[in-house]
């Protein structure tokens, strides 16, 4: 989830909750205040009536414009004893002038005259409709909520993108970053301490991994160099032995096998050297290379070498497709992909090669999908073919990385498909 939408979502949720809470408090405070006022005036009114009753003076007329109404009922002493002498409550009160019931605040007081006769006085004062008040408060709170939300969103978007820009620049930089490609420095033009620290930490981490990467390829390169001389010695000694005529046929056959194994070691070493050279970008000079010609030549050459496997290519190639690339790397790229087909495709099958809109696609039949995450790793071997070094596709990937050519593997309808955007 995007950071900004997460912030917006949380802000909106917090706003909803706090607004609802606030609306509730506001409503109760309001109701309480109104009731308080009503009670005061009711008390005043009822004590006025009681004092008039006791003094035997004329009682106020109902309908004198105050909207108040009252009843005086004589009650028994027992009733008076059982009930509180002064109670307030809300009830719906029939107002004769209006001919309808209205919510009203009612005060009930019980008093006795000088003869000991108890009376119950009920004074009612019409008040507000609670529902109406609640509704209008709710509406206004909702309006306030949306206005507030919009304001908060606009302001926080402004602040967010203004202050988070360094973060997004760093993320963009990280997206475009490739290990071992001598990156541009990390963009940290900000006064914000946290981002400066983040940028510095990032720079340190990148420097460290660049250094490790460099050391690793340096190590592979050095190790391969160091192996060259011993390999040369062993090879030459074996050749010397094989050229000497005193060898028994059994010894010669054994020696030949040793030599074959040595050949594999030499090839492995050469490939590792090549890989480390590609990673160290030691192939500067690029020329215009016709990939179509290269593909055709490769198919012809390997077709002869792997004639016994009886694999044919269905070619869908343009006249020419020229790419600016180091020639020997281009040849390594193409030959590894083609050779792969000859080695791994089922015997007698038809493979496909095409160049369409600058995309080289090579596909052949296969039993099951390879592990797409690791197929380009060094020493990834799907088959147990002893002749494969496990470095061919790693080489292809290294070359594609060097020239920023997207390389992809997929398995569709029983076919392994390799694509390179040239």
């Amino acid at each position: 989830m995007h950071l900004f939408s997460r912030i917006v979502r949380n802000l909106a949720a917090v706003l909803v909750l706090s607004m609802a809470l606030w609306a509730m408090l506001f409503y109760y405070a309001m109701v309480d205040e109104i009731r308080d006022e009503a009670d005061d005036s009711l008390e005043h009114y009822s004590s006025m009536i009681i004092s008039r009753v006791l003094a035997g003076r004329e009682l106020p007329q109902i309908g004198d414009g105050s909207n108040n109404s009252y009843t005086i009922t004589p009650v028994s002493e027992q009733y008076a004893m059982q009930h509180s002498h002064l109670t307030y409550h809300d009830e719906n009160f029939y107002i004769p002038e209006k001919g309808e019931e209205e919510p009203a605040r009612v005060i009930t007081s019980i008093f006795s005259d000088k003869d000991g006769q108890y009376y119950e006085l009920r004074v009612a004062m019409p008040t507000f409709e609670k529902n109406d008040l609640f509704e209008s408060i709710a509406i206004w709170i909702a309006i306030l909520y949306f206005v507030l939300l919009v304001v908060v969103l606009v302001v926080s978007a402004f602040i967010f993108y203004r202050h988070m820009r360094p973060l997004y620049e760093m993320l963009k930089w990280l997206d475009s970053y490739q290990l071992g490609c001598k990156p541009q420095p990390i963009p940290v033009q900000t006064q914000i301490t946290e981002f400066r620290k983040l940028g510095d930490a990032l720079q340190r981490a990148i420097d460290r991994s660049e250094q490790l990467f460099e050391r690793q390829s340096q190590f592979i390169g050095d190790a391969s160099h160091e192996l060259q001389t011993p390999l040369a010695i062993i090879g030459n000694r074996i050749e010397w032995l094989m050229n000497s005529s005193s060898l028994s046929p059994e010894a010669a056959a054994e020696l030949y096998k040793v030599n074959q194994t040595l050949g594999r070691a030499v090839r492995l070493n050469k490939t590792l050297l090549l890989l480390s050279k590609i990673d160290n970008r030691q192939f500067p000079e690029s020329v215009d290379v016709d990939i179509v010609g290269m593909v055709k030549e490769c198919i012809e050459s390997y077709g002869e070498v792997y004639e016994s496997r009886d694999i044919s290519f269905q070619q869908n190639l343009p006249q020419r497709h020229v790419v600016h690339i180091n020639e020997s790397l281009a040849s390594t790229l193409v030959s590894n992909l083609i050779r792969n087909v000859y080695i791994h495709a089922p015997e007698g099958s038809v493979a496909r090669v095409s160049i369409d809109a600058g995309v080289l696609t090579i596909s052949n039949q296969g039993d099951a999908a390879l592990d797409g995450d690791h197929v380009f790793d060094r020493f990834y071997k799907a088959s147990k073919k002893h002749t494969s070094t496990g470095l061919g596709l790693a080489l292809v990937a290294a070359i594609c990385r060097l020239y920023n050519m997207p390389l992809d593997y997929s398995f569709q309808q029983g076919c392994h498909i390799f694509t390179v955007e040239l």
Binding site: Q228, A232, I233, N236, N259, S301, E304, V305, T387
Partner: protein, 227 residues
């Protein structure tokens, strides 16, 4: 023909000198930069095999020295660093050839022979064994003076053998040399057998006095026919 081997590894030095001596060359050896420098200054050689990674100096500097001294020795650089810069730098600074490690003995001898021949014949690069003459530049072959037409692969194979006469050539090495990288790890070498068979037939039909014979079933050797 006198050859100086400048190589710090004793075992490799021994093999190289043994192989070259067997070919009839007079071989001298130097193990360090200093020793090599004094030998180069004091004597003259037909060919110098120069390892560029020496314990006490860079062989490329020695190359500059040799050229500064105005010597015309043929120099073949031998390097474990199969790097293009070294190769380009070496060849630009007067080396005649560049041989990356690990190399085959036959390859070393072929390169030495080729460099020496180039020095002698000034550009005329014909290889000749028995009554067969092969000109790599014009890609032509003559048997007893008559032109022999060969297919591309057949020619390449013959060229490879003619550069290494009397040496056993591993069929895997041959496959790699003629068919390109990685051809040597093919499942079988049927394609090599087929081409060799055709080449043998063409040579014998043309009446060549050389033949390609199988050695133990894992390689071939080109030699003049024994009468």
């Amino acid at each position: 023909m006198k050859i100086l081997i400048i190589e710090d590894d004793p075992s490799l030095r021994e093999i190289m000198s043994r192989a070259l001596k067997q070919e009839g060359y007079v071989v001298e050896m130097a193990t360090t930069f200093a020793e090599a420098d004094s030998k180069v200054a004091g004597y003259s050689y037909d060919c110098i095999l120069l390892d560029i990674m020496l314990p006490d100096g860079n062989g490329l500097q020695l190359l500059e020295h040799i050229r500064k001294l105005g010597k015309r020795e043929n120099v073949i650089i031998i390097s474990a660093r199969d790097s293009l810069e070294d190769k380009v730098y070496g060849l630009e600074n007067g080396a005649d050839d560049y041989l990356p490690k690990p190399f085959h003995t036959a390859e070393l001898i072929a390169r030495v022979r080729s460099v020496l021949r180039r020095g002698r014949t000034a550009g005329e690069l014909a290889l000749s064994i028995g009554n067969v003459v092969l000109r790599p530049d014009s890609r032509s072959v003559q048997v007893a003076g008559e032109p022999l037409v060969l297919l591309k692969k057949e020619f390449d194979i013959l060229l490879y053998f003619m550069q290494r006469p009397h040496h056993m050539v591993d069929k895997a090495v041959l496959a790699e040399a003629v068919w390109g990288d990685y051809a040597d790890d093919a499942d079988n070498f049927q394609f090599v057998y087929a081409q060799i068979k055709n080449l043998r037939r063409r040579l014998s039909q043309a009446g060549a006095t050389i033949e390609i014979s199988a050695v133990y079933g894992f390689g071939y050797k080109l030699a003049e026919k024994e009468e």
